[in-house]
């Protein structure tokens, strides 16, 4: 709550200024948003609305589901059917939504903590089942909303409010996790790659089955300042320097180091076809 109030004072209405057709996917009466200045979340939301617009997905066919966190607040800004659920449970909620209403185009938009700490089990099972949904993870390497604690993607050595001596846990490599759990589309980009992110989102949304897009995103408040990365803009610059595009590379080699010089592999890692949960289920049931 205190974090949230603080964020409100720092509001930056970047989403409102864009007089773009894609703004029809946004609840303008709810703007400005609550996110800090320099946060990567606003641009991730814009990329998603642009992707919807580009694909001409009817607003009423879209369901956006979020969990809890700064990223989890995204659902509240979409002028679609939108569901802000509980911490970690966006994917299972989305599972029910999709199975009950298969016509919906279901997007899960949430954070690294939400999707991979408390909700990690649901992520691997949804990928294993190949449920037809798109999961977008804004990875800011920390629990932004609760004040910058370390999480399952915090690089080793990084400082967070619960890792004052440096994080000594081994982080998840999300593209590798998604690929090995069975996702049919896996991409990673950073907040500087606005056009690439939008393209990845378009691909993911068009793909039948479980698709995953990771966006490495600045969180100056929770992560950047504590780790000598400076403000949001500085974190973006460092991504510009560190990102190396390697399409179709082995995702197990896409680990992220804390070292501000170390390369970060981005690109499309997986794009395969596999029947979805519903397709397989219906095949089995019909053959009986």
């Amino acid at each position: 709550m205190t974090t949230e109030l603080k964020q409100k004072e720092e509001v930056k209405p970047e989403l409102t200024s864009a007089e773009h057709p894609a703004t029809k996917y946004l609840r303008e009466e709810r703007l400005p948003h609550i996110w800090c200045s320099g946060c990567g979340l606003g641009s991730a939301v814009t990329s998603l609305t642009n992707a919807y617009e580009k694909l001409e997905i009817p607003i009423d066919d879209i369901g956006v589901v979020s969990g809890i966190g700064c990223s989890g607040r995204a659902a509240g800004y979409f002028e679609t059917d939108s569901y802000h659920t509980t911490h970690g449970r966006a994917i299972p909620f989305a599972t029910g939504l999709k199975l009950s209403n298969p016509e919906m185009n279901v997007t899960v938009f949430s954070g690294d903590g939400d999707l991979f700490a408390i909700g990690g089990n649901h992520f691997i099972h949804a990928a294993r089942r190949n449920l037809d949904m798109t999961v977008i993870c804004v990875n800011n390497y920390n629990f932004g909303m609760t004040g910058g604690q370390f999480g399952p993607t915090t690089p080793r050595g990084a400082t967070a409010t619960t890792s004052p001596y440096g994080n000594y846990e081994n982080p998840f490599n999300l593209p590798d996790l998604a690929a090995s759990a069975g996702a049919v589309y896996v991409a990673r980009w950073t907040s500087v790659h606005a056009r690439r992110i939008q393209q990845a989102m378009e691909d993911a949304l068009s793909k039948k089955g479980f698709s995953f897009v990771e966006i490495l995103s600045p969180c100056p408040t929770g992560y950047g300042r504590k780790n000598d990365l400076g403000e949001g803009i500085d974190e973006l610059k460092s991504y510009q320097n560190r990102a190396v595009i390697k399409h179709e590379s082995d995702p197990s080699e896409a680990e992220i180091e804390r070292d501000p010089e170390a390369e970060i592999v981005v690109g499309n890692f997986v794009d395969i076809d596999r029947p979805t949960y519903c397709e397989v289920a219906d095949d089995y049931l019909q053959s009986q």
């Binding site: 709550m1 009423d60 569901y83 659920t85 029910g96 939504l97 199975l99 009950s100």
Partner: protein, 381 residues
């Protein structure tokens, strides 16, 4: 088995199967669950029957996800349910709160077993009764049914679906291992199954406020894809459904979650009374313990003791007024429960000192002897 959702006719089935059939008859077309004894027969039946009736069954990875999927299923437009037992019920608590806060119709059957913790997986218990009312954090009204037979597993599951839609909230069927596994005659008559339809919006999307209540304090619900573009959140929200984090909105929202049950008690509460007219001592009971209580009641009457029974069909909301009324007429009230004292607290509270209240506890794993209840009745005279 039949391809029909409504298996009209006379059957011999166990309580779990009857619960599944009741759900299908009530229009349930989405089931998400995780196996647990003594509930698994519900999930098994659903896995067989859902495809036959054009619904969807999914076995989730745990109970956290089962209840979350059920909430999603309900917003997707399907009547949805899950079923579990104590350990799974505990795991579901946070999202039961989400269901209450977001006013999501769905049904949760809890086939109780001996508890706490893993307890007695294959044996009867009634240890989750208070949890049904107070298990998730915060204030909200609760509706819970306590069946005492496979027939009632069918009938009360239908009722639970209807009340869930009528009041837009998760509703509980609080059964137990004995009822779940007991095999008895179940009669299904389609003319007796009424369906309360979803409370769809009555205005255009521009004017629709997802949490604007009707006179009965219950709002209307727009499912996904219907063009209403609803926002649904567990944060305290205004009538538009948007987060609004202040005391006034909290009062309006949470006050209504309590009031929509409390002020509609006359419509919701159901009790059954037996031998109440001349009763000097009373048994208040529910679920499996009620069947034993019936034995005690008969023996008491044979001995010339003026005993009566109040049987709770709905255990929540608690029938305060009725119990208070009866308590003025009797010397004492006996409450047999298969726990160490849960609903007895409600009886004491409602009785307000008008009569002596005596618990007949059972720790779970078995049933009371009717004589235990009888002795307690005699002690009050």
């Amino acid at each position: 088995m039949s391809d029909e959702a409504m298996m009209t006719g006379k059957h011999f089935m166990n309580g779990d199967e009857a619960c599944a059939e009741g759900a299908l008859a009530a229009g349930c077309r989405f089931f998400a669950g995780y196996p647990i004894t003594p509930q698994s027969e519900i999930a098994e039946r659903m896995s067989k029957r859902m495809p036959e009736v054009g619904g969807r069954f999914i076995q989730m990875e745990d109970e956290l996800s089962s209840i979350a999927a059920v909430l999603g299923g309900s917003w997707g437009g399907s009547r949805s349910m899950t079923a579990t037992s104590g350990p799974g019920f505990s795991l579901m608590m946070e999202n039961i709160g989400l269901g209450m806060m977001t006013e999501t119709p769905c049904v949760i059957a809890n086939i109780q077993r001996g508890s706490p913790s893993t307890g007695l997986p294959t044996a009867v218990g009634q240890g989750d009764m208070m949890q049904a009312q107070w298990g998730s954090h915060g204030d909200y009204g609760v509706i819970a049914y306590a069946p005492t037979s496979p027939q009632e597993m069918f009938d009360f599951t239908v009722k639970a679906f209807n009340k869930a839609e009528q009041y837009m909230m998760p509703v509980f069927v609080m059964a137990d291992e004995k009822i779940g596994h007991m095999r008895e005659r179940v009669e299904i008559d389609e003319n007796k199954v009424e369906i309360y339809p979803r409370r769809k919006p009555e205005v255009d999307p521009d004017e629709f406020k997802p949490y604007e209540p009707d006179e009965d304090l219950v709002p209307h619900m727009a499912s996904a894809g219907e063009g209403y573009r609803v926002h649904v959140t567990g944060l305290t929200h205004n009538q538009q459904g948007y987060p609004q984090l202040d005391v006034e909105t909290q009062q309006e929202k949470v006050g209504r979650l309590v009031d929509k049950v409390e002020k509609n008690k006359d419509d919701i509460v159901e009790i059954e009374t037996i031998g109440i007219e001349d009763a000097e001592v009373l048994i208040v009971s529910y679920g499996m313990a009620f069947r034993t209580a019936m034995g005690a009641y008969k023996r008491a009457r044979e001995k010339g003791i003026k005993a009566g029974i109040v049987r709770l069909v709905t255990v929540w909301p608690f029938p305060d007024d009725r119990i208070k009324e009866f308590s003025k007429q009797v010397k004492g009230i006996v409450v047999p429960e298969i726990n160490l004292g849960q609903m007895v607290r409600e009886v004491e509270r409602a009785t307000a000192g008008n009569a002596e209240v005596k618990l007949v506890p059972h720790p779970g794993g078995g049933l009371h002897e009717p004589d235990q209840i009888l002795e307690s009745l005699e002690a009050l005279l």
